[in-house]
């Protein structure tokens, strides 16, 4: 499992604890959304929490459309808010 440290979310340092997913690390730092929808640009974060709904898609280390609720968080990771289809 991942170690302790920090990931970078939109330029901000977010603490990471071992065993946490990206969603859990962001949530613990008070961050509730990291994606906007394609049509209306509405903010989205965790919904189902188990990889079913794809609401929590996020860009991790430059790769878009990662499920934050499944992706293990690790120190040094660069996470960025995903706009619309994944830019």
């Amino acid at each position: 499992m991942s170690a302790s440290g920090h990931l970078i979310f939109d330029g901000r340092r977010v603490p990471v604890k071992p065993g946490q997913t990206v969603a859990a690390a962001l949530w613990a730092a008070g961050i509730r959304s990291w994606r906007t929808t394609r049509e209306t640009g509405a903010p989205r974060g965790v919904f189902c929490g188990i990889g079913v709904c794809f609401d929590c898609l996020v860009t991790i280390d430059g790769t878009p459309n990662q499920r934050a609720c499944l992706a293990p968080a690790s120190p040094g990771m660069v996470v960025t808010t995903q706009l619309g289809t994944g830019r």
Binding site: V46, F47, G49, V52, F54
Partner: protein
């Protein structure tokens, strides 16, 4: 195609596993352990990094898996002829018999504001807390229907979170009217009582026949509107009041995960809770010979029932592949009795915690129904009442609900239900099947194909 991986012991004559089990929750674990105890070569696959499923969630399930090839991190996305399971990123696995124990996920109903950040499913609240040690909020509302709301609320309380209210749409006093069914599942009543005691100790209001009707907030949820329901599941006029919170966990039971068996052509039926489930015979075999199912995919009933079904199916596939049953006559009789009792209780539970009949009345024309494709109520209504769509397939084609990332996993039930209602007919298995057919079961990259 690469050949299936062969373990060191007891290769079966055809070079395949005797049985491959997809899903390592309570049902799949029981199937694998029981079949292996009978001498079967067993492969147990799960998409998660550890066995246990959503129920055990990384805790030790305490099941002996000696003789089982455990393949975690194996997201099966396709089954090709000859029962070859294709998984993302590793070699395919072939077996003589398949068992699907793929479990279920939270069933949700749309309401105004349900797409605000901070509105999550009870399963998400549990996954974040038990899996990652992160509570979903500081002041949390737990709502929806079903016994699962109670451990979610109790877990949050034990983590020091303020649970501002638990709102159950069903009327649990109805359990008292079926004492025989309740007596058959005594452990469940005890468990519920202990959670209710935790709620009482923390002075958390537990309101039955109440529902969250709307969520309010700007960038995230800051309050919900809660209302009382009458016996028919309709909102009691004048009963709506706001409850402040920073997170809501809301869900109405569970939806079985069926894409792989559906892709193989297994027949389905509509269960008493309105879920699409696999039709299975006495031995847990689906309508496709050699394909079995155990646990929530045969009808939502909880971990205890899943485990009993798993043991029975494990013994059944062992016998079907030429092994002696690992169960004594006495054990078999006991398990069959237990299965009947737990299924009776599950049917009662479905009736007590049915989705409230009045939920479509809580929607506004602009409420999002399909979260992926941003499809609001008015577009679905126009497709059904204006353009004459008679089933979900037509609705999908006309306004795209269920065609986004989640492939109808979240909006399938509500869209099917709204379509049926607005056509003036009851929900059918066919309505739900439209949204449950997903030939590619997991997102894959082009390179995996």
């Amino acid at each position: 195609m690469t050949s299936p991986p062969l373990g060191p012991s007891r290769p079966s004559p055809s070079g395949r596993y005797h049985v491959a089990v997809v899903g390592a929750g309570p049902a799949g674990l029981a199937v694998a352990a029981t079949a292996a105890a009978a001498g079967c070569r067993v492969a147990l696959l799960d998409a998660a990094p550890a066995v246990g499923g959503q129920y055990w969630r990384g805790r030790d399930p305490g099941v002996r898996l000696s003789g089982v090839d455990v393949m975690t991190g194996s997201a099966v996305w396709f089954v090709s002829p000859g029962f070859v399971l294709h998984r993302r990123g590793s070699d395919p696995v072939a077996a003589e018999r398949l068992v699907f124990a793929t479990g279920a996920y939270d069933r949700t109903l749309p309401f105004p504001g349900w797409d605000l950040p901070g509105v999550v499913t009870p399963g998400a609240a549990q996954a974040m807390l038990k899996g990652c040690g992160v509570p979903i909020g500081d002041r949390v509302v737990v709502a929806g229907a079903g016994p699962f709301l109670l451990p979610v609320a109790a877990g949050l309380l034990e983590a020091g979170v303020r649970v501002v209210g638990v709102y159950e749409a069903g009327d649990p006093t109805r359990y008292a009217r079926a004492p025989a069914a309740v007596a058959g599942a005594r452990g469940k009543a005890r468990e519920a009582m202990s959670y209710l005691a935790t709620l009482a100790r923390h002075r958390v209001p537990y309101r039955t026949r109440h529902a969250v009707l709307a969520a309010r907030g700007v960038a995230a949820v800051s309050a919900v509107e809660v209302g009382q329901l009458d016996r028919s599941g309709a909102l009691v006029p004048g009963s709506v009041r706001p409850v402040e919170c920073d997170a809501v966990a809301v869900g109405y039971g569970f939806t079985p995960q069926l894409e792989l068996p559906l892709a193989l052509g297994c027949a389905t039926r509509l269960d008493t809770d309105g879920s699409l489930v696999l039709a299975v015979d006495f031995a847990g075999q689906t309508t496709v010979p050699g394909v079995y199912a155990a646990g929530e995919v045969t009808g939502v009933g909880g971990a205890a029932l899943a485990e009993v079904e798993g043991r029975l199916v494990g013994a059944g596939v062992a016998v079907a592949t030429g092994h002696r049953s690992p169960l004594s006559e006495m054990e078999l009789t006991r398990l069959l009795r237990r299965r009947s009792a737990l299924r009776r209780f599950a049917a009662l539970m479905h009736r007590v915690h049915a989705p409230p009949a009045g939920w479509p009345e809580w929607l506004t024309e602009n409420t999002i129904v399909c979260r992926c494709e941003d499809v609001p109520v008015h577009r679905i209504r126009a497709a059904v009442t204006g353009l004459g769509a008679t089933d979900g397939r037509a609705v999908k084609a006309l306004c795209r609900p269920g065609m986004g990332w989640c492939q109808g996993r979240i909006c399938g039930y509500p869209v099917a239900e709204l379509t049926a209602r607005w056509r003036g007919r009851p929900l059918t298995a066919a309505d739900l099947a439209v949204f449950a057919h997903r030939p590619i079961a997991q997102p894959v990259r082009l390179g995996d194909l």
